[in-house]
Symmetry: C2
Subunit: 333 residues, 2 copies
Amino acid sequence: MATLKDVAAAAGVSPATASRALSEPGSVATAGRERVLRAAAQLGYRVNPAARALRSGRSGHLGLVLPDLANPFFASVAKGVQARARELGRTVLVADTEEDPALELDLVARLREQVDGVILCSSRMPESQLRSHADAGRVVLVNRELDGVPSVSVDNADGVRQGLEHLRALGHRTVAYAGGPASSWSDQRRREAFAAVEGITVVDLGPGRPVAARGVAAADLALGSAATAVVAYNDLVALGVLDQLRTRGVRVPEEMSVIGFDDIPAAALVHPPLTTVTLPLREVGRRAVELVVATADADPSDPPAVVRELLGVELVVRGSTAPAAAGAARSQA
Amino acid sequence: MATLKDVAAAAGVSPATASRALSEPGSVATAGRERVLRAAAQLGYRVNPAARALRSGRSGHLGLVLPDLANPFFASVAKGVQARARELGRTVLVADTEEDPALELDLVARLREQVDGVILCSSRMPESQLRSHADAGRVVLVNRELDGVPSVSVDNADGVRQGLEHLRALGHRTVAYAGGPASSWSDQRRREAFAAVEGITVVDLGPGRPVAARGVAAADLALGSAATAVVAYNDLVALGVLDQLRTRGVRVPEEMSVIGFDDIPAAALVHPPLTTVTLPLREVGRRAVELVVATADADPSDPPAVVRELLGVELVVRGSTAPAAAGAARSQA
DNA sequence: GCCACTGGTGCATTCGATTTCACCGTTTCA
DNA sequence: TGAAACGGTGAAATCGAATGCACCAGTGGC
């Protein structure tokens, strides 16, 4: 493998000049620069990332920590992160925490040393731990907010609001919520949004894991309540609800309406197709990269610019919601 | 940040001994080793990955290149890779090629220099390009085989065979295949397996992108043929087939049977639940890590041990397959 | 004609851990 | 008794790029 020294020798300049010709072309005379560039191409020179990282202190890597790669939600964010990072010439180190806060803590600590900045996605860590990492700098949160820490989130509250207004317009007055993990910041925001909507009685089906099996259980709970509609923490849970309702012989949307969150690919493929809240997840990933690169490149002595982005969401009405049935009136009696 | 020199000074030994105490504890006397370990803990010492990588030539990173992170198939493999890599103290650099062979070529080239080894998943590259990378060493293929290159694959042929035997036992005699990308090695293996099964007439619906929309189109093609069953390239395509069959008023499985591949989470959640071939994808990822770490750690002067693993698959019979209907007899007339 | 300045350049050092090599004292075997 | 083997250690070289600093020739101002 050719080193910078080889290139410099071939171009008849010193390694220092060769280095400058490659990394800040403006500061080198045209003739020499061209010779260096030509020699580099000739020899197939490629910088040694380790050497550069050692001296400069930056690896060019970004860290991405998320609870579950197999969850389409995080997969989409990861794709956005990937794409933008590649455009910026960065590479991405991914770590899957398996929804385990302890593992997350460990992975973040390890990763911090290997990367220029960390994107921490839907962190399940308690606030105190999270803060200790975030305050050390070079961390951007996704779908979680914390004072003094840059973050990118989706407008959970508005998603809930849109869903509930849709249901209210259809005549629903009692709505069940099949919530997500208790440690989920998004879930907390959604719960608050539920409470803030007027004219709808909320039946809380409690927290649960964000998987289909949780939806199966939630469906029966909902049937045992006065609710005429179910809002699920995410589409996976909603799919579980749909499945169980079919098993119980309850027709959707005639007898029960269902709304999901995330708009995963499968949501449009089930029957009835799921009414859900679509989130700009790729964009979330891209923005997070912008933020983390900006903080990584920033002069550490400057006061850090803390940016908080909130991206809009949109209700996609498909076939799983319809006007409340007679049963709705019954529940109001 | 404390450096090795600081630790050595605190422990009263030379940096060389401190290094050995930390990386090969057996080669240092107990007393000194303990002092070093204590000093390291005391000072909160953490190795500088860049410095280590520079001198030793190994970064501890593994590269994972795959066509699409949002595809549950690859997401599962990625999880397996993640998990095993973490256990082995390695980190994973992920690159998403967006199903683009040109981008893949570029990403692999870039990644190679930053990692100890590359796991190349379902490469879409033509064989010649692939070979040029693979021959340079430290590459493990997943779901693709090439002479002289270590690889981990699933037994595609056996999956097809199991599916077709299931269908034949149910009385099906004409089966349509909604294939995947023409550049997919798996698809080629499956096509061959189709041809090898006796007593079944195959209707080839041609190649296509591995997405639901492709299944929608394939469903109509299947209906226009004599086929009484459809085997899809993957579950996403199968879901598209199911959806379109419902739209066309064709009952599944009574009038048409459908079999998918991959067993993604959504497969069990649709109605009817999808009969599909389940693949040990996590395990594939784990094995790939074993192989790539082994090749990375191997003495480059030794003849490379080329291991080819083939992991078993299993047909999961759910609700989308049933005995061939009267229509089957008609098609044979 | 002297000085200050400037754009370019090279020398030498630096980053932090690893690794080679020489060397020490002790033991073991001939 | 001498030589060889051995576990353990440290000094110093090494990895490859980046960079502070000194220095050069050439320019312009006075």
